[in-house]
Amino acid sequence: MIKGYEVVIGLETHAELNTDSKIYCDCKNQFGLEVNSQVCPICMGMPGALPTLNENVVDYAIKMGHALNCNINRVCKQDRKNYFYPDLPKAYQISQAEVPLCENGYLDVMVDEEERRIGITRIHIEEDAGKLLHSDKFDGCSLVDLNRCGVPLIEIVSEPDMRSSAEAKAYLETLKSILQYLDICDCKMQEGSIRCDVNVSVHKPGEPMGTRSEMKNVNSFSAAVRGIDYEVNRQIEILENGGTIEQETRRWDDVKGVSVSMRSKEDAQDYRYFPEPDLLTIVVDQERVDKLKSEIPELPNAKILRYVKDWKLPQKEATFIAESVELAALFDSCLAKNKYPAKSYSVWILGDLVKYMNETGKKLSDTKINADNLTELVGLIESKTISNAGGKKIFAVILEEDKNVKKLVDDLGLAQVSDTAFLEKIADEVLAANEKSVADFKNGKTNALGFLVGQCMKASKGKANPGMMKEIISKKLDNI
């Protein structure tokens, strides 16, 4: 609820599927190649060229349908959506109108420690369009790159079930992680592999739904949040000033942080959908549907629940790990060893590992960390063979080098010393050298203890067992 208004949000999300070839021809489905190099008569819409369906696209879409708990329409058509634009060489987009491949599903997302169920209206398959290129160098012309024509897309349409931009963000992030788990989309926002259109309306509680506006050109999840917040405020302001909301399509300008009107309802295009006569009805047998279902891995939302319930991880940490396919895979194989508490792994994963990945831009697979060496490291700490600080030194090495953990303990001289006589000798030396701190402690400044223990650790070159060291120091201070 914002300023006494309830917010209603529905999202239409386009995800480019990462099949090897395009949806209706054999051209490579790859981003970032030379302009107009990945094209053929079919995706360029040359006269007489005909589409043939890449069945992998159907499989990928059905997997997403299963992941979002949809009914799979085993018999469905493809339809033509007719409109003129220079990036659309056939002047129609092959899509699905009446009967989508998947429909009537839902997605459960966690928002502020609470589970929210978002309805999924439909998922259909369609082809992407090309891209217009504008530049002063083109002498007043615009050029068109058709490499993206025929890149397979799924459009995922949600019910208007979201009530805040935070919910929309959680929905989008969960969708993204599912796409990654299914390995059907690269999910590179900067390459436009996920894009969304946002439908927003506001109304007073108890009153009927407000008129919605549709916002296009939303190219990141954070832009979706900004766009929704802007649109909600814009609509409330209009209503508060006695105005009415027009049904219209708006364009989000993320740089300026405003949405601008593209066209009103009266100017809405009539796409003249009709069944694509060049393609056969899609017929998928039950066996194929079932097989695709069996190929779906445990999905991130289920993982989060398991981490929280079975492994006592806080939701935030569970979510962070679960939403990354590779981190979750590492975490799960560590847990599968069933040796040490989940927490003793998650601190490394969420701490030093993620920090390293963020700093270097590397993926987990680019590092040398695996469940075996991480478990060995955790084991050495749990058994107090090495200190936590020593563990960090080893971790820094095994991030980049394929080295034996036990050998590193020796090589780096990190084995903790638990020999009481040795530790007492250090304690005596440190206490003698820090009379002021001892006096402070005696005067009630208890944090002097930490300083003294730290000095001991330093004197031992980090090898002293910090627990024992602390115990010895405390005992000696009491006796002074």
Binding site: M46, P47, G48, D270, R272, F274, L279
Partner: protein, 486 residues
């Protein structure tokens, strides 16, 4: 003694095999004929003489070396100008594609090339195959070789006229609502519209995708069978292409119709059908009866609605298929424009002829929100009904006999300003496309003006062999093709 260009493909095939003639001689003969008569007939839009002679030389070399060659190797064939030929202009007889050179071959062209047929050139047609007289061609009207002041029919008017005028031994046309059979009938030649899906449409510039089908035109049934055997077959590039095994239609040709059940549907002999046409067609049926066929009167009651359904479905698909001609990537673009929309509007207004624009507007209308169900939706229901009626008929009979066209060829200019009258010439042929069936038109005599009349034989899906056999049986007891005096 007949000139080489006057002979049938099946005879020429044997002569080539027996080395009585060379491919070069035959090709030269056909091109000399083209040069002699095409300024009267106007069949061709583009000639392929240099390439054709090169190909003929290559074939002769291969034959001398003793290489195994197909039955149609060395046979000069003309191609309707809506079938894509790599490196050879494919205009669809439209200003829009006046200078369009395809970067790829239609599947049928690849098949003809593999079989070493010799492509003579590209044949005139109604613009984008929309028309029944070849008068909507942007370039010129084609004339009927049997009466030069008359139309050859359409849309494959150039394909039928070229064969009738002996400017090509055989040709390829395309048939969306009768565009092979109707001109074949008017020009006194044989034209086969194959089952939908029997011949790949890849590379055929689409008019109405769900109805279009490429097929052969020849002077005799066997020629048509020979070409059909080369061009048919599954193509992975065309999703609507059927998975079927096709036998050699020409080798299996027999003139035996004993016990064949022929249905005569009363709806195809009613109002609007010229008496001379009716008489000739019914006489042909009687001749088949004498050969042992069993004749049955049948009824296909939805026939009357077929024309409306056809024009709705075909125009709807055409409005979408022709949208790609927008001046952005290839083909005609207007010279002066001040915005993208202005460029689109001017390009399409200037690039398309009246008939094409009429159908685009009609098709756009019937697909529009609020009208879809009343027009397109209903037409699709009718399509289902018409198919069911044919299915019912074919449970009891083998072949349906009917006129191909209600009348013989009309005068150039006679109907061009009356679209409805022009559309009505398709009344006997459109049902076949709507139901996806095969049908053939064979000459069955002439009217009092010596204008050819065609007998149309319609079969169940993939019954091409049966249709060709029936047509062959009739042909063997009739005059068949008559060489026009030019």
């Amino acid at each position: 003694m007949l000139e080489l260009f006057e002979r049938n493909a099946c005879e020429l095939s044997d002569m080539l095999k027996n080395k009585e003639i060379s491919s070069v001689e035959l090709t030269q003969s056909v091109f000399s004929r083209i040069k002699a008569v095409d300024d009267k007939v106007n069949s061709y839009v583009t000639l392929n003489e240099e390439e054709a002679l090169k190909e003929a030389q290559e074939i002769d070399r291969k034959r001398i070396k003793g290489e195994q060659l197909s039955d149609i190797a060395g046979i000069p064939i003309g191609i309707k100008d809506n079938i894509s030929t790599k490196g050879l202009k494919t205009t669809c007889s439209s200003k829009m594609l006046n200078n369009y050179v395809p970067p790829f071959n239609a599947t049928v062209i690849n098949k003809l090339n593999d079989a070493r047929a010799v492509i003579t050139g590209k044949l005139n047609m109604d613009e984008f195959a929309m028309g029944s007289s070849t008068e909507t061609s942007y370039f010129k009207p084609t004339c009927n070789p049997h009466a030069l002041d008359r139309i050859p029919g359409g849309s494959s008017g150039g394909s039928a006229a070229a064969v009738a005028a002996c400017e090509a031994v055989v040709s390829l046309g395309s048939d969306t609502g009768g565009s092979i059979r109707q001109p074949a009938s008017y020009c006194g030649v044989v034209g086969l519209k194959p089952t939908y899906g029997a011949v790949s449409r890849f590379g055929l510039v689409a008019f109405a995708s769900s109805l279009d089908q490429i097929g052969p035109i020849g002077k005799c049934v066997k020629d048509v069978a020979m070409v059909q055997s080369v061009i048919n077959g599954h193509d992975k590039m065309d999703a609507t292409s059927a998975y079927k095994d096709y036998s050699d239609l020409a080798a299996n040709l027999t003139a035996d119709v004993k016990g064949l059940k022929i249905g005569v549907p009363k709806e195809y002999f009613g109002e609007g059908i010229d008496n001379e046409v009716k008489t000739s067609v019914l006489n042909a049926v009687k001749e088949l009866e004498k050969q042992g066929a069993v004749i049955k009167d049948i009824s296909l009651p939805s026939t009357d609605y077929a024309l409306s359904a056809y024009y709705i479905i075909s125009s709807a698909e055409a409005s979408s298929n022709l949208a790609r001609f927008d001046g952005v990537r290839y083909g005609y673009r207007t010279e002066n424009y001040d915005s993208l929309i202005d460029m689109y509007e001017k390009t399409r207004s200037e690039g398309f002829g009246d008939e094409v624009k009429r159908r685009i507007m009609l098709g756009t209308f019937v697909l529009s929100s609020g009208f879809y169900d009343a027009y397109y939706g209903k037409a699709k229901l009718l399509q289902k009904r018409i198919s069911e009626e044919f299915n019912g008929a074919f449970s009891d009979i083998d072949v349906i006999a009917a006129p191909t066209v209600p009348t013989t060829a009309f005068k150039i200019g006679e109907n061009i300003n009356d679209p409805l009258k022009m559309y009505a010439t398709d009344i006997c042929t459109v049902t076949v496309n709507i139901a996806g069936l095969p049908a053939i038109s064979v000459p069955c005599g002439t009217d009092s003006n010596k204008l050819p009349i065609g007998l149309q034989l319609i079969g169940n899906k993939f019954s091409e062999q049966k249709l060709l056999n029936t047509a062959y049986a009739y042909e063997s007891i009739s005059d068949g093709f008559i060489i026009p005096k030019l």
